[in-house]
């Protein structure tokens, strides 16, 4: 296979292998679209002093299965034996990636599920009406359940899971290193400074939740702090796992690692790159917890976009409330500098959809995309099996029972990064 990168050697080639079936076996392997996992090998990868026991199970699309207490999901990827630099700062060294080749097991995810304090209940159904609302409803999910070691701090348990799940994702993808890919995606690098196509440079600002342990996001393995300033990153770095979730709040408004790896705004920009725009880059920005830093970060992000020569920007968030204020301030600051801006908002319009939709709206930049109403309720059918826990506390019911839940509880259903296809319409 010839592996050529585009635009002056700054691109990334994605070798995409479609996972069409999964199995459990003695050896981890990938062959003819079937991903086989060896529980013994998985245990060896996941073993950590903070975990006394781990269990792995497959949950596949269409199964009468519910995954509760979902913590994070990772798409199996690797750049070579031992990861080849994938997930920099966790599996690979903390260095920029996004060049060369990356193997992707599309249609699969490694999913951590179970009780951690500060985690709000997050539910994935593999069948029924909630399945199409979550990215994990369409993937073969290797669910990692766990028992904390006695006396282990919760922070250590979470760290062990995060590292283990990333390492396991890299290990699974390694099984496809010798396989012929189903698709080869040549991803462009950042546009050259003297690109003369006359197309607008459109960038993404991706706000990351920065509220400390259990509510943080990692960039190159480092927690992106609430006093950090916005920083520019090559979108191809996201494909190689430079951004990893450590965020357990707001299940429907969560950006799992899987979604950062497949950043939907970047994907939408790439799809039109060279056609009617240039995909100009990603700005990672903190979501500070105080007004002073929020104002500083918004003003600074706008100046950064101006200095980088962006003509238009799409802003996204993680979480609710404060996160809306961050977006509104950024939108207004960008438009004040003459940079047209659109942001993705989930609506919080109440159970019947009649309440005000947005907590803090922008004042001057008024173009918003709705990713659906947080409060609207869904009826989920009973299932045969549940992973991640025995009960769904917010429904006050055993996890396998039929239940009614707000959309807010369905994992990534209102994806702030724009993964989903939900929106709101007026029902006259």
């Amino acid at each position: 296979m010839s592996v050529t990168s585009t635009e002056g050697g700054t691109g990334l080639t994605r070798l995409v292998h479609h996972v069409r079936a999964v199995a459990v076996g003695e050896r981890t392997a990938f062959s003819s679209g079937t991903l086989t996992v060896s529980p013994a090998e998985a245990h060896a990868v996941l073993t950590d002093p903070a975990l006394s026991d781990v269990r792995v199970s497959w949950a596949s699309p269409g199964d009468p299965v519910r995954i509760v207490k979902v913590l994070d999901a990772v798409e199996p990827r690797t750049k070579g034996p031992g990861g080849g630099g994938i997930f920099p700062g966790f599996v690979g060294p903390a260095l920029p990636q996004g060049r060369g080749i990356t193997h992707v097991l599309r249609g699969a995810a490694v999913v951590a599920a179970g009780f951690l304090p500060r985690a709000q209940e997050a539910v994935v159904d593999m069948s029924g009406p909630a399945a199409p609302l979550s990215p994990l409803g369409a993937t073969h999910n290797l669910v990692v359940e766990f028992t904390p070691a006695e006396g282990a701090a919760w922070e250590a348990v979470y760290e062990a899971l995060r590292k283990g799940v990333l390492a396991l994702a890299a290990r699974l993808a390694e099984a496809a290193l010798g396989a012929e890919p189903d698709e080869v995606d040549e991803l462009p690098g950042l546009p050259a400074r003297d690109d003369s196509r006359g197309l607008p440079r459109v960038a993404a600002i991706t706000n990351l939740q920065t509220q400390g342990t259990f509510k943080e996001v990692f960039v190159y393995g480092r927690s992106f702090g609430s006093t950090a300033l916005p920083t520019l990153i090559d979108p191809n770095d996201l494909d190689d796992g430079a951004v990893v979730s450590g965020q357990l709040g707001h299940p429907s408004l969560k950006n799992p690692t899987w979604v950062f790896q497949n950043h939907p705004v970047v994907a939408a920009l790439r799809a039109r790159h060279g056609v009617d725009l240039l995909c100009a880059g990603v700005v990672l920005s903190p979501e500070p917890v105080d007004a002073t830093n929020t104002e500083l970060v918004s003003a600074h992000a706008a100046r950064l976009c101006r200095a980088a020569g962006f003509d238009a920007v799409v802003v996204t968030k993680e979480g609710g409330g404060n996160a809306d204020a961050d977006m509104a301030l950024k939108m207004d600051a960008l438009e004040d500098l003459g940079i047209p801006t659109v942001a993705l908002y989930a609506e919080m319009a109440g159970v019947d959809g009649t309440g005000p939709s947005i907590v803090v709206p922008p004042t001057r930049a008024t173009a918003m995309v709705s990713t659906g109403n947080y409060d609207e309720r869904l009826s989920l059918p009973a299932v045969e099996r549940a992973f991640g826990g025995d009960r769904v506390d917010v429904a006050g019911a055993p996890a396998i029972d039929a239940m009614e839940l707000p959309t807010a509880v369905i994992y990534s259903s209102l994806s702030p990064l724009g993964w989903g296809r939900l929106t709101c319409r007026e029902a006259v």
Binding site: Q211, G321, P356
Partner: protein, 342 residues
């Protein structure tokens, strides 16, 4: 056939008095009362206001009285339920909206009438609301709008902005072909091309809160502590939600000078509660309030505090909590409240 109309109003418009009678319980009478008489004239012979139901504002805004009001409404076997006009009166508007919402939920034909700034507006659920004037001086034109709306809803026709309809039309989740990200990129290109109007989310309308007048003499005032910081007795005995709260609770502080760590905790899901639980006064400053009470700076501290969790709470619910808290505190003679927010 004559359409049977049941009209809901408050104690003031029922002719029972103002704030002094704001605590009268739900009651009803055959026929039109107060503004209902003029409404009857405007509606003409095809409609008959068969009963008028009323309730004192302080109760009507409370949580428990709606079933009793609805029993009176249903007992009159209405074809159409009409509530208001409530103008900008908060508790009255809330009651009109709730009676309308409950009627709609029960499958009855209904229309409510209040000013667009009335805090009750968002409580009307799926029931239509038409605009009244701001104050009762505008009763005449308000009733004309309302009468026209009654005829329309009775005929099964939808109400639109031209009919004076106000409030939000329900927004429902639908699935579309493109992802949110794809739509966002298309929208930003449209904006770059000069389209300044396109959006999927209309800008919400927020009302401005006019602060109450300062308390004349706080050294004689009864002062309450209220909080959205989700501080509850340690076992969370009433299961306050940590997010998306749908209700509020009350806990006694009579005879207490402090809220010891371990006996109280915050179940708020929107921030790290470590510091709050280390010293619950960081959420509810009972210690300092008692000190001020002892020094005579404030008259007396109210015997209980009101609490909810302000985290992912819909604006509609938050507004309702505020109106209910105000009514509850007023009933108990509280003159000032200290609201701690997180």
């Amino acid at each position: 056939m004559t359409a049977r109309v049941v009209h809901y109003i408050n104690q003031f418009f029922a002719g029972l008095g103002g704030e002094d009678t704001a605590s009268v319980l739900p009651a009803s009478r055959e026929g039109a009362v107060g503004p209902g008489r003029k409404l009857q004239q405007l509606l003409g012979d095809d409609y008959e206001i068969v009963a008028t139901v009323w309730c004192g504002d302080d109760h009507a805004a409370g949580p428990d009285v709606l079933p009793a009001i609805m029993d009176l409404v249903r007992a009159a076997e209405p074809h159409v339920v009409v509530t208001g006009p409530a103008f900008t009166s908060g508790r009255y508007g809330l009651a009109c909206a709730r009676v309308a919402a409950a009627s709609a939920a029960a499958g009855l034909t209904v229309v409510a009438c209040m000013h667009p700034d009335n805090p009750g507006l968002d409580e009307a659920g799926t029931a239509p609301v038409v605009a009244s004037g701001e104050v009762a001086r505008q009763m005449g034109p308000s009733l004309e709008t309302l009468a026209a709306a009654v005829r329309k809803v009775a005929a099964g026709e939808p109400l639109a902005a031209d009919d004076g309809r106000v409030g939000k039309i329900p927004r429902r989740n639908v699935t579309v072909d493109q992802t949110g990200a794809e739509r966002a990129v298309a929208l930003v290109l449209a904006r770059l091309g000069g389209d300044r109007e396109a959006t999927e989310v209309p800008l919400p309308r927020f009302d401005q809160v006019t602060p109450a007048q300062p308390v004349d003499d706080v050294s004689t005032a009864l002062v309450a502590l209220v909080t959205e910081g989700a501080l509850v007795p340690d076992a969370n005995p009433d299961s306050l939600e940590s997010a998306r709260a749908t209700r509020w609770l009350r806990y006694a502080v009579d005879g207490r000078d402090a809220l010891p760590a371990g006996e109280y905790r915050s179940v708020h899901g929107g921030f790290s509660t470590v510091w709050a639980n280390e010293d619950p006064h960081r959420i509810l400053p009972l210690d300092v309030a008692r000190q001020l009470e002892g020094e005579g700076v404030i008259g007396r501290l109210h015997g209980e505090y009101l609490v909810t969790a302000g985290n992912g709470t819909s604006v509609g619910n938050a507004r309702r909590f505020g109106v209910e808290w105000a009514a509850d505190l007023r009933r108990q003679g509280v003159q000032a409240a200290l609201l701690t927010a997180t």
